[in-house]
Symmetry: C2
Subunit: 206 residues, 2 copies
């Protein structure tokens, strides 16, 4: 039997991602299976393969959506031109988002691409968009001709924050207390900013 067409392709896409989001947030990425998602939306597993290439593709779109949500949240923060203030604002938004969607956030980084397949361009753009916010906040610390150093610094800070989250969330630092992630993130940003101001960049100048 077949041919229900209760939903359009777009509706199926939205339904599936919504169900995936709920499963990941409730039980983690390892419970996200094709059969689970199909069950949740009342279709057979095979139907998912009409909408997504495979399960990896579904996860990629789920993660892309998470990046969109983060960008929307962070882009509402005002930019004052004072790096310490602006970075602090971004950091607060980042922390709030990630603590509010722990499952989705974990999935974003837990997911490993099959083989050595890189991430597609449309996905890389979503990352670049978030990094752009960091760059805007750090920009006053750099000269106009130092855009390379600026993007470099933004990436290092972004990666560093992710590292703290990853180790903390994975219990891979024998950490006591609940606000340690926040503390470490603050230490990283504050120390990194102080370092950017003082002497660490001489090598970058001409």
């Amino acid at each position: 039997m077949a041919r229900r067409s209760d939903h359009s392709r777009e509706q199926l896409y939205t339904l599936a991602l919504g169900a995936a989001e709920r499963i990941v947030e409730a039980d983690g990425l390892h419970r996200l299976t094709a059969r689970n998602v199909a069950d949740a939306i009342g279709y057979s597993p095979g139907t998912l393969y009409n909408v997504f290439e495979n399960l990896d593709d579904l996860i990629l779109h789920l993660n892309a959506h998470t990046l969109d949500l983060l960008f929307e949240t962070l882009s509402q923060a005002p930019v004052t031109g004072a790096p310490d203030r602006d970075i602090d604002t971004l950091l607060d938004g980042y922390l709030e988002f990630l603590l509010g969607h722990p499952g989705l956030w974990a999935a974003l980084f837990e997911y490993v691409r099959p083989d050595g397949a890189g991430l597609p361009d449309w996905y890389q753009l979503k990352i670049a968009r978030v990094l752009g916010l960091l760059e805007a906040a750090l920009a006053p610390l750099f000269g106009k001709a130092e855009t390379d150093q600026l993007t470099h610094a933004a990436r290092v800070l972004w990666a560093g924050l992710h590292g703290i989250y990853a180790l903390e969330a994975g219990g891979k630092l024998d950490v006591v207390g609940n606000d340690t992630f926040r503390d470490m993130a603050k230490t990283l940003t504050r120390t990194f900013l102080a370092g950017l101001r003082h002497g660490a960049r001489e090598a970058g100048h001409e």
Copy 2:
């Protein structure tokens, strides 16, 4: 049929970990299956469950072994008392180790504990041992009464380095060039050290 006893329990443990190491290094953690390991050592899957609690337990022991190897490598580096020099030495050793064992290193962080199960104490100790080397290198920057700030700083730096590796290895930064990981790691350590020296720690003083 049964009762071969070709190997002792200890020999089985070593054989299994060795096979696991080869599989992970060659094909990645996702190819590490009980049947794969069993095949490689010429036993049935069931036998593994005499030696390890389950596959998670096997991976945990594999990762513990990786941490041991890293500690052995890094602890041979001389400590001069000059933080910039010593951190640089450690960083070089870290980079060399990780580029020499990319599969094992990826497995160390890719592996996510089931449920919210924390890591056992004997494993945490292996992490602490590595962190201790970082602390020793950073120690001259801190006063004798600032051991809390010292361990905090060492953890932040360790986590930050991991973040850079994780994003780079996962292709999650649209990075060009081959030595970018090294560049970013150098930027992080240099900037972080400069920040520790200048002003960023006022809040930590009494």
